[in-house]
């Protein structure tokens, strides 16, 4: 147990060092950093604007009113912002594989998957998380679900959000690991990026049963924002909580297995 604690402490220290160096790197070019933040704000504003446009013409979107839909949008933004803000190295994995720069990580005396995941975060994307949190809190206040419900729902909501992060992370890792075999897989992430983007809308919009099953199982986009929002608004649903947790665990272990399997084929280009 003590050994485990030391290991976690060490990984935490590595993560903090990576974060610190990335912030320093970004602040070296302050203007660029500022423009990136502005870009992130525009991107999030467009997402909000689109939902506002939709609700100019309808009262509810597949059973979700404006504030409820904004809970989904806010949750999606937080998950997206968190992942880009902490796991940015993973999003550029195919480039590192192609150019052989992954060498710098695999020779380090720490778990390679952890290093690939958390050695670099993009601080400019924290603005996405911040905007998401604001959207979420603003809608939550308007929904007025009551303090007692809030106390019960919040821990489950947080658990669902953790599951969301694990699910997107795992899918991303699997897709990006394909780059170990394919020389140029830089565009593979578009598949996953656009699939996860779907999760900014309520999963109930997919009225076709087959499509719905697809988004709850094969690509579990429904668990990314719709399920956490549902738990926050309507309270714990043990069936959803259990399925979300099982899906997250399965995807996490599958991605770890797949990554380690793919890593064996790393050809270390240019070394």
């Amino acid at each position: 147990m003590n050994h485990m604690g030391v290991k976690i402490k060490r990984l935490g220290k590595i993560w903090l060092l990576g974060l610190y160096s990335r912030i320093m790197q970004r602040l070296e070019y302050r203007f660029n950093f500022f423009v990136m933040v502005v870009g992130g704000i525009i991107q999030m504003s467009l997402m909000i604007a689109f939902v506002n446009i939709i609700f100019n013409y309808i009262n509810n979107l597949s059973g979700w009113n404006y504030d409820q839909a904004m809970i989904i949008v806010g949750s999606y933004m937080m998950v997206d912002g968190f992942l880009w803000g902490t796991c940015a190295y993973l999003f550029g994995l195919s480039l590192h594989i192609r150019e052989g720069t992954l060498d710098t990580l695999i020779v380090k005396p720490a778990d390679t998957q952890f290093l690939v995941t958390a050695s670099q975060g993009d601080p400019e994307d924290w603005v996405k998380f911040a905007i998401g949190l604001m959207v979420f809190l603003n809608s939550l206040i308007k929904l007025d679900i009551g303090l007692a419900n809030l106390m019960v729902n919040t821990p489950f909501y947080l658990l669902m959000m953790l599951n969301s992060i694990v699910i997107i992370y795992s899918i991303s890792l699997i897709i990006r690991s394909i780059a170990f075999w394919s020389t140029d897989a830089s565009n593979f992430w578009y598949v996953i990026d656009n699939l996860t983007k779907i999760s900014q809308y309520p999963a109930d919009i997919f009225f076709n049963k087959i499509v719905k099953i697809f988004f709850y199982t094969i690509i579990p986009a429904a668990f990314i924002a719709t399920v956490p929002a549902e738990i926050m608004i309507h309270g714990p649903n043990f069936y959803l909580i259990l399925s979300s947790t099982i899906v997250a665990i399965i995807f996490f272990f599958a991605s770890r297995k797949f990554f380690n399997f793919a890593l064996k084929d790393y050809s270390s280009a240019s070394s």
Binding site: Y29, M36, G39, I54, Y57, L61, S186, N187, I205
Partner: protein, 265 residues
């Protein structure tokens, strides 16, 4: 001219090597359309018309718009130009009897062909599946004008990318600039959603930029929401922008080259 033709064919062959990469890019974006189609279908279940758009018109806007978006994409030349400047690889081009700008244009043309083939294939499948939900406009004059507008749109986007890339003569890090400008240009072109869903001020402002003529105006022409003459005027504005951007690039290139340090030489 033959040397640029060689560059185009080389780039075409190079892209054929990484077919899966390009197909996955288009395939990924297919999910974006699916979500757009689904969401607008749900919205139109409660209403017949949104700001002058009927359901088939909105579906056409999304589906035909998808082809326009990818047919006129140039896949991030800003980054490549910035890299050439900072790593000094531009020196290889400067000492050769070819123009660097024309070289980039040739590479872009070679690259778009493979992407276009996969986009058109997916589009044909989509038109087959959704032919009863969209508006098909086979007017030859309209299609010809649209084609001309799209060719101009491709070059406007490309020249804009080159212009941003050349900023790297003065700045080391330009990723933020092109990231933000790409979002801005996509929004101003009406690719996120039809511009006329926004307050009229936005449409009026967007007319001062070239982007609306690369996406929204051709689609309005296809949907017969603007006349052929208005479409021709749109093409005229695009040509004006092309000249302006080309002149700007020449100017920036002239002054930028004086700042070029040819790193690594």
């Amino acid at each position: 001219m033959r040397k640029y033709w060689k560059i185009i064919t080389n780039e075409f062959q190079k892209n054929l090597t990484y077919r899966a990469n390009i197909i996955s890019y288009n395939f990924g974006n297919l999910f974006e359309i699916i979500s757009q189609i689904t969401i607008w279908t749900v919205i139109f279940q409660g209403t017949n018309m949104i700001k002058g758009y009927t359901y088939p018109e909105m579906m056409t806007y999304i589906i035909i718009g998808w082809v326009i978006l990818f047919a006129t994409s140039n896949y991030g030349f800003e980054e490549r130009i910035a890299k050439d400047i900072h790593q000094g690889t531009m020196s290889n081009m400067i000492v050769k009897p070819i123009s660097y700008i024309r070289y980039i244009i040739a590479v872009s043309m070679g690259r778009v062909v493979v992407a276009l083939v996969s986009v058109v294939t997916i589009e044909i499948a989509m038109l087959y599946l959704l032919h009863d939900k969209i508006i098909l406009n086979f007017n030859p004059a309209t299609l010809l004008l649209m084609l001309a507008m799209l060719i101009a749109a491709f070059f406007i986007k490309l020249l804009f990318s080159i212009l941003i890339g050349l900023i790297a003569f003065w700045f080391i890090e330009i990723s933020g600039t092109y990231f933000s400008l790409n979002i801005f240009s996509k929004f101003m072109s009406g690719a996120y959603f039809p511009m006329n869903l926004l307050p009229i001020t936005f449409v009026n402002i967007s007319l001062f930029f070239p982007f609306i003529y690369t996406f929204f105006i051709p689609l309005q022409l296809y949907l017969k929401k603007i006349t052929f003459m208005e479409g021709l005027r749109g093409l005229g504005v695009e040509i004006l922008w092309l000249f302006l951007l080309y002149l700007l690039i020449k100017l920036v290139w002239h002054f930028g080259l004086k700042k070029y340090e040819a790193a690594g030489v």
